[in-house]
Symmetry: none
Subunit: 255 residues, 2 copies
DNA sequence: CTGAAACACGCACTAAAATGCATATAACCG
DNA sequence: CGGTTATATGCATTTTAGTGCGTGTTTCAG
């Protein structure tokens, strides 16, 4: 992991993190960079007086609040999704080719990748593409096609065909439901082919699944559950609910 | 390992190391090159005053932290760009096929379209795609490809080829410079083909041009000025500056 | 209204920077 | 060849930037 040894470097990192995440919390920064909260406060004060961010009680916010589009849906279970995303982001390694599908949790993963990760990411989500643009060493391939406004992704035949052109190391899936027997299911028919392509063109398949989606069944079946290699879910999920997935050879990670 | 015996050689090595690692730490350099920290500091000071790096406490950083993109530029002349965008948005009619290129002004247009506009928009910018997702009756086609992080658009051959699949009614262009004789110019070589495609695949070509870009010349020529059908520019621009464009048959609108 | 968290300020300590000076080496020139 | 000069370097000294801690104050949420 890249060590931060220059104060100025730390400040620039903070600015980038602000652009990615839309806010900075002093206490978190203190832990993240291994310096006291005083130092963080001084940093934030300096950046604020340089006109680079807006200082608020507890942290900082961007000057232009509405530049990065913001989505209401993103709010629910935000904290949980953030936890899952952080755990998921541990699975990536340098120099991999990664596919990221649509969804609020996968978007969260895109904002929580290691800051110096060197990789190529293929995504169908313009929102994720924007988040990734803040990373210096990530090559971004945007998969084109008709935008599905509900999910904010391209999910038509053109997008599916494009995904088929890649053979990735890793894929992050946002799913509507995962059931041990029924498998991966979706509420959107037009997404089925695309998600299937994501799975088939990728070595490891990581599904981030909140507790309510575990064992859930949506109308359209995408693939059997054993196509998944990793499930990231909440800490509080009881072990007996996870056992069926482990029996399928899926590595289950709780965060 | 080549021995470093020339001071100048050492400095060039340091610059290369800076490009490779993104930062230089004085103490490390001292050990690495076997000279005192004083010497390193003098080197860094010299390189800084030559404008080759940014000197910071403890070492040095690149001048442009490789990602000083978009969001900075977006702030400047925001009010003006908004005016131009509102004027530009008047030109769209229902049921048209519209191309929107990259740029801060074109993004502004995307946020200022008539709320009930019924149209199809093709864009290379994920940011614009997100803005457009707010409109109920706009069909969005995202053009895929490698993302240029600086401009936040897809501008590679794949994107250009895709644009060639459309025959649009209208196209909004964000340009680096428009000169009556030299024509439309760009600061980015890789954008040239794409912008040319936008122009050729579109009936009307609307350029939103802030005062400083009117008559400006950037390194790479895209097309002659008479390819433009409409120029939207600032109110304060004197008539004599606009006459050459009108002589080319371009409709000039001041907002 | 009250307790906890965040903040602001001053102080002490460390590391890095600037500055002046001494020395060594290499280049220059008669 | 020998002496002068310019450059590069290291060392000592003073300044300054960065940091953490303690104390008292402000802000915020229940």
């Amino acid at each position: 992991m890249a060590v931060i040894d220059l104060p100025q470097e730390r400040r620039e990192m903070m600015l980038r993190e602000l652009r990615r995440k839309g806010k900075l919390v002093a206490a978190e920064l203190s832990a993240e960079y291994g310096v006291s909260e005083d130092t963080i406060r001084r940093d934030l004060g300096e950046l604020a007086s340089a006109g680079l961010l807006k200082r608020v009680h507890g942290g900082a916010l961007p000057l232009t609040p509405s530049n990065m589009p913001y989505y209401e849906r993103d709010k629910c279970k935000q904290a949980v999704k953030n936890e899952l995303a952080i755990a998921a982001s541990q699975l990536v390694k340098d120099d991999q080719l990664i596919l990221i599908g649509g969804g609020t949790t996968t978007a969260e993963i895109a904002r929580n990748l290691p800051i110096n990760l060197r990789a190529t990411v293929v995504t169908t989500s313009p929102l994720i593409a924007l988040y990734l643009a803040e990373y210096a060493h990530i090559e971004i391939i945007m998969v084109g096609g008709r935008i599905n406004k509900r999910e904010l992704v391209t999910s038509d035949a053109e997008a599916t065909a494009k995904i088929r052109c890649f053979q990735a190391d890793l894929c992050f899936l946002g799913v509507c439901g995962v059931h041990p027997e029924v498998g991966i299911t979706s509420t959107l028919y037009e997404e089925v082919d695309l998600v299937r392509a994501l799975i088939e063109q990728s070595g490891e398949v990581v599904a981030t699944v909140t507790a309510d989606k575990l064992g859930a069944i949506a109308p359209y079946v995408v693939a059997s559950a054993d196509n998944i290699t990793h499930i990231i879910t909440e800490k509080q999920v009881p072990q007996e609910n996870l056992a069926p997935y482990r029996a399928l050879g899926i590595e289950v990670i709780q965060a």
